[in-house]
Structures are given as structure tokens and as C-alpha cells.
């Protein structure tokens, strides 16, 4: 039995259909990240699961119950928002206990749960403050605390870290992951446009674009075997290199050809059957290009070197185009140097040039 199940759901704003028959199953205790650029519909989907938005058709099941027409409070969910959404006129304690007070929970029980959540998030010393006396990181902790005391089976996060600065974002990210591990069976659905958050937090990532699911898979799968050009380009920084070319037959085995560059595809794990002459796009991640004095592909000149401490990104080009290479931080490289590259065929991705799908 899955914790959250979105079955053939359509959402419409006025006359515009936002989703058409979207289906998604989330296992109990799973950490699911909905990843995509703004406007891809990930927040809309989250709001539909929360019940803050009416669906036009389809069903939403949470914890084995059809909750499609139930009020948000009856769905056994808790939600954390990007703008924290703390009640400004209430103290931290009142903020956290608001839901329980609405549900007429007995006072000792409220005290106990607030205390537990506050200790877990290390905000006990803030309980009597007002939200405007807190920093951004503290506010988001309180917002998470407010979700925690609800004792919900499913947590919904709507870009919870996007308003924080980089350092705090990293800290809270780790904390959310730790929280998920500690809570055990709690299912988490997390919306973000930040691929690092998605990669580090998720058990499975749902990549979305234009209101459609592009790929569902573990972070490793998404990164190594992107299902199409969009996923390949969206996930990974620096971006994956794309090289236009076509498939040719040589000695009975397929080969990738782009101008004078060739790459035998003997070790490539095809998902379909390539045909000779098919137009394709080769995707290579910057770290899967090795710099050699003599390599598979030669004749590149370095344009720009971007040292990043632990590693380094080298932009190099020849007449046919430019590539980014990620290499160790201690590599000696300067603009104007010439270099050759070796491509590991087991690590590349091939996409059909027309459909953009992986082949």
C-alpha cells in the first residue's frame, strides 16, 4: 500500500488544464522530491495533494483512504512553506500549537508535543518569541516544528529553503534529511527547483516540465541515465555537454560521428535499436571527459579556466564547438593550452535528435 497515490489527476484553472491525467505513487516512508523549473506544475501538484486546490478529475489517496474531497486538515498531512507562513501575532509556541488547539487536543498533550518538537529542532529557547524576532533560519525551523507537532503521516515541503542564504540552506538541508531518518515511517514530498537539494535529499526524484512528469527515479538513475534531453540538461552543474551527430555503422557495430570526431558505441547500453544514419545528440557530463596529452578527441584549445577549489572546470573548444571538462583542482591548465580528451562510452547518454528521448 502506498502512502500517497495520485491517480489520473487533472487540475484546471478556469478553462486552462494544468495537469491532464497525472499519476504518481509514493511509498510509505519515502522521500520524494518534485524537481523542475518554475511553472512546471510541481507546486500545483503539491497543493492538490494538500487539498488546497480542487482537482478537476481523478483521485488522491493518502494512507489508503480516498481523500479527494476531504478538507486539508483531515488528510493527515503537514506542510512547510517557502515564506514560512508563521502567524505574525502569535508566539512561537502558539504558532506550533495552533493546529492542535483547533483540533481541541487536551492541554497536557499539546505541551508535550510542542516540547518534543522544539527539542528535536533546538528551538526550545525561542518558544516565547514572536516570529518577527527570529532570523530566517529560525523561522523556518519553527515552521517545520509546526508541521512536526501535527504528527502527520505525510509531510509536504514547498521550496522550504529557497528564502535562506546558502550556508543556512546547507545546514537545514542536512537537518531535514536527519529528521526524515529519525521519524522513520514519515513520508515526505518535497518541491524544489534546486537540483542539489533534490539529489541530496531524495529517495526518488520526479523531474517535471510543462506540467508533465519527465522521469521518475533515484538520484543516481536521474543523473546517470537521464530519460531525455531536458532531464539531462536540467540536472547536473556544470551542465552536461551536448554534441550533435549521427549514428553510423562500422564493422557491424554502431558508431557516433560528429564531424571528425568519432566514438565507437560498443560499450553503450542502448535502450532501443539505433539505426544507421539516425540523427542523435551525445550527452557527456564534464567529469566524464578525461584530459590526456593524446586522446580519442584531440585538437582542443582552452578558453577559460574556472578553479573551484576541490575541482576545476575547463572550457575548451575547437572549430566544431566547445566543451566543459571537470577535473581535479590541482590540474595545471591555462587559457591557450592545447589538450586532448578521452570519452568513457559507458558513461555517456545518447538522445534522439528529433524526440529528445534517450536511445
Amino acid at each position: 500500500m502506498s502512502a500517497v497515490s495520485v491517480r489520473d489527476v487533472s487540475v484546471a484553472f478556469e478553462a486552462v488544464r494544468v495537469f491532464d491525467g497525472l499519476t504518481l505513487d509514493i511509498e510509505e516512508g519515502e522521500f520524494i522530491v518534485l524537481l523542475g523549473p518554475s511553472g512546471c506544475g510541481k507546486s500545483t501538484l503539491l497543493n492538490a495533494i494538500a487539498g488546497l486546490l480542487d482537482v478537476a478529475s481523478g483521485q488522491i489517496w493518502i494512507g489508503g483512504r480516498n481523500v479527494t474531497w476531504e478538507e486539508p486538515k483531515d488528510r493527515g498531512i503537514a506542510m512547510v512553506f517557502q515564506s514560512y507562513a508563521l502567524y505574525p501575532r502569535m508566539s512561537v509556541k502558539e504558532n506550533m500549537s495552533f493546529g492542535l488547539r483547533m483540533a481541541k487536543t487536551p492541554k497536557p498533550e499539546i505541551e508535550k508535543r510542542v516540547k518534543q518538537a522544539a527539542e528535536l529542532l533546538q528551538i526550545t529557547h525561542l518558544l516565547d518569541r514572536r516570529p518577527d524576532q527570529l532570523s530566517g533560519g529560525q523561522r523556518q525551523r519553527v515552521a517545520i516544528g509546526r508541521a512536526l507537532v501535527r504528527d502527520a503521516a505525510v509531510f509536504l515541503f514547498d521550496e522550504p529553503l529557497s528564502n535562506l542564504d546558502a550556508k543556512l540552506r546547507n545546514e537545514l538541508r542536512v537537518e531535514i534529511k536527519r529528521l526524515h531518518a529519525r521519524l522513520g515511517k514519515t513520508t515526505m514530498v518535497y518541491v524544489t527547483h534546486d537540483q542539489i537539494e533534490a539529489m541530496t535529499l531524495a529517495d526518488r526524484i520526479v523531474v517535471m516540465k510543462d506540467q508533465k512528469v519527465q522521469q521518475i527515479g533515484s538520484p543516481g538513475e536521474i543523473y546517470r541515465r537521464p530519460a531525455n534531453l531536458f532531464v539531462a540538461g536540467f540536472v547536473g552543474s556544470p551542465q552536461m555537454n551536448f554534441i550533435k551527430g549521427r549514428i553510423e555503422e562500422s564493422d557491424g557495430s554502431p558508431e557516433f560521428v560528429a564531424g571528425r570526431r568519432r566514438l565507437p558505441l560498443a560499450g553503450y547500453d542502448f535502450t532501443g535499436h539505433p539505426t544507421a544514419g539516425q540523427d542523435v545528440i551525445l550527452g557527456v557530463r564534464p567529469e566524464h571527459l578525461d584530459i590526456l596529452d593524446i586522446g580519442t578527441w584531440s585538437g582542443f584549445t582552452i578558453d577559460i579556466v574556472e578553479p573551484m577549489g576541490a575541482d576545476m572546470v575547463i572550457w575548451c573548444s575547437d572549430r566544431e564547438g566547445s566543451l566543459q571538462v571537470r577535473t581535479g583542482g590541482n590540474t595545471k591548465a591555462a587559457p591557450g593550452d592545447r589538450l586532448s580528451l578521452r570519452v568513457d562510452v559507458a558513461q555517456v547518454s545518447l538522445f534522439d535528435a528529433e524526440t529528445g528521448d534517450r536511445i
Partner: protein
């Protein structure tokens, strides 16, 4: 080495242009203060002194007789109980009207901006249209409606009228204020189990202090200064202060008691004056924030 000096002549602060501006501002201020000055000094003079005609002069023998007369024994038509009757009538009209119109406007604004009712925009448009139609157009139809329902010429009647005519402005004010609040606050409250009224009273209303202050100012001054609704709908027993002031000023037989007229006028203006002085800062802020007509 000596300290570096900025080069050239220091820019002068007192230029001819600046002097001109100040001269204009002072003249304008005097121009607007003059009537008030005349009213204050006249109200403190006995009639003998007023007859001499030095309207700008300070009173030689200062007396507050005119004020007490205006308050408790000036004649409004046949009765001679002063303007105090009208004052208390105005208070009785003011308090329920202000409270009810603000409550209705706040609830309306809250419902329109958060609860996405079908056709909310159309309703809001119609309501706004109401704010721009001249009041006089409504007078006769309303008189007919009220007299048919049997509450014409009563306190209830005048309060209902004030609430109806306050509704567009109040709704606009609160709708715009609530539209500026993050919608996520509302979503969070819904997930926490709040219904229509709990979210309104426990989350939204506590955040509305600035708008409540502005709305109170707008409605208090507007309703207190009202003349035509009071005259038309309140009935003889409940005539507001403005109507009684008119009666005092225009019903005097023989010699006109300027000092009493002045004192009565200032008494009638007291409430809005106090409201403005106490809350001017809030008022400006609210006008700017809500962008409503004053």
C-alpha cells in the same frame, strides 16, 4: 600635510528661491488658519464686543458663556436644549454604524481575497460601482423601501444606511490589504484546521490593526460629518449634530448670536478634529496603502 579641503565655494542653503518658498508656505498657512482664529476669538467674546467689529482682535473680556449656551441652551427651532442633544444623537448613530460597517467590510474583503468565491471579481466590480454613484440618486428609492418596511425615521434606519454606503469603501480597503498578505499564511491556517471564521478571527483580524485604525478614522469622520442621510433617515428624535447645528445657525430671531454660532460649530467639529490629531500618521499611511478616495 594639511587636511584635504573640498574645493570651491560651499553651496549656500538660503537662496532667493528658498526664501520665496517659505514666504508662500507661511502665507498659505496663515490663510487657512485665519478662519479658525476668527472662530476661536469670536466665540470667547461677549456680543457687546463683537458689535464693535474688530473681528481679528483678542477678546477684552474673555467669557465662555457662548460655549455653555451653545452646548446646553441654544434654540434649535422650538426647543432650547443646545447642541448637546445632537451631540449624543450623533454618538448613538456613530458607534453602531462604525462598528457594523467596518465588520462588514473586513469580512467582505477577507472572503473576496482568500476564499475565491465563484464570480468574486464580478461582485467586487458591482460593489465598486456603487461607490461612484452619487448618493442623491439613492435617496428617494431608499425612503420608499424603508417606509414600506416600517423602520423609516429611526435609529436602525440611519445605521443601516451608513453601513450600506460604507460597504464599498470598507470592502475595497480590506480587500486590498488582505490581497497584500501572503496566501501561504491562509493555506497554513487551513491545514492547521481553521475554518472561515476561525481563520478570520484568529489569524487575519489580529493582523489587520493598521487597516482597522484607518477604517475607523474614515468612517468616524465620514459619519460624523454626514448631514443629508441624518436629515433624511434619522427621524426628528435622532437628528445628528450637523443638522442641529444648521438649525441653531439659521433659526435665530432678531440679533444673530455670532459667538454662540461659532462655539456650536466648533463643538460639532470636535470629534473629527480629535480623530485627525490623534491618528494623522495612521491616516496618511492607510490612504497610501489602500489607495482609496478620502
Amino acid at each position: 600635510m594639511s587636511a584635504l579641503e573640498p574645493q570651491g565655494r560651499r553651496p549656500r542653503h538660503l537662496t532667493i528661491g528658498r526664501v520665496g518658498v517659505y514666504a508662500f508656505l507661511i502665507t498659505a498657512a496663515l490663510f487657512f488658519l485665519l478662519p479658525l482664529w476668527i472662530m476661536v476669538v469670536t466665540s470667547l467674546k461677549p456680543m457687546d464686543e463683537i458689535r464693535l467689529g474688530n473681528i481679528l482682535a483678542l477678546p477684552a473680556a474673555m467669557t465662555i458663556e457662548a460655549w455653555t449656551k451653545a452646548w446646553s441652551s441654544a434654540c434649535t427651532g422650538l426647543e432650547c436644549n443646545g447642541i448637546s442633544v445632537g451631540f449624543w444623537n450623533s454618538v448613538r448613530i456613530l458607534i453602531p454604524s462604525v462598528i457594523l460597517s467596518i465588520a462588514a467590510g473586513a469580512i467582505n474583503g477577507y472572503a473576496l481575497s482568500f476564499w475565491r468565491v465563484k464570480g468574486a471579481n464580478v461582485m467586487f466590480g458591482v460593489l465598486l460601482l456603487g461607490a461612484f454613484i452619487p448618493y442623491q440618486v439613492f435617496l428617494y428609492p431608499l425612503v420608499r423601501i424603508f417606509s414600506m418596511s416600517g423602520i423609516y425615521n429611526s435609529l436602525t434606519c440611519i445605521v443601516i444606511v451608513h453601513v450600506i454606503f460604507g460597504l464599498p469603501t470598507m470592502t475595497l480597503l480590506f480587500r486590498n490589504y488582505y490581497a497584500g498578505l501572503p496566501i501561504e499564511l491562509f493555506k497554513a491556517a487551513r491545514i492547521d484546521g481553521g475554518g472561515f471564521w476561525t481563520i478570520f478571527f484568529r489569524v487575519m483580524l489580529p493582523m489587520s490593526t493598521p487597516m482597522l485604525v484607518v477604517a475607523t478614522i474614515l468612517q468616524t469622520t465620514g459619519i460624523w460629518n454626514d448631514f443629508i442621510f441624518g436629515l433624511t433617515f434619522a427621524g426628528r428624535e435622532n437628528l445628528p449634530m450637523t443638522v442641529q447645528l444648521n438649525n441653531i445657525v439659521h433659526s435665530t430671531q432678531g440679533e444673530r448670536a455670532y459667538n454662540v454660532d461659532m462655539a456650536a460649530t466648533m463643538l460639532a467639529a470636535l470629534v473629527p478634529l480629535v480623530v485627525y490629531f490623534v491618528s494623522g500618521r495612521w491616516f496618511v499611511r492607510g490612504i497610501a496603502a489602500g489607495a482609496v478616495k478620502g
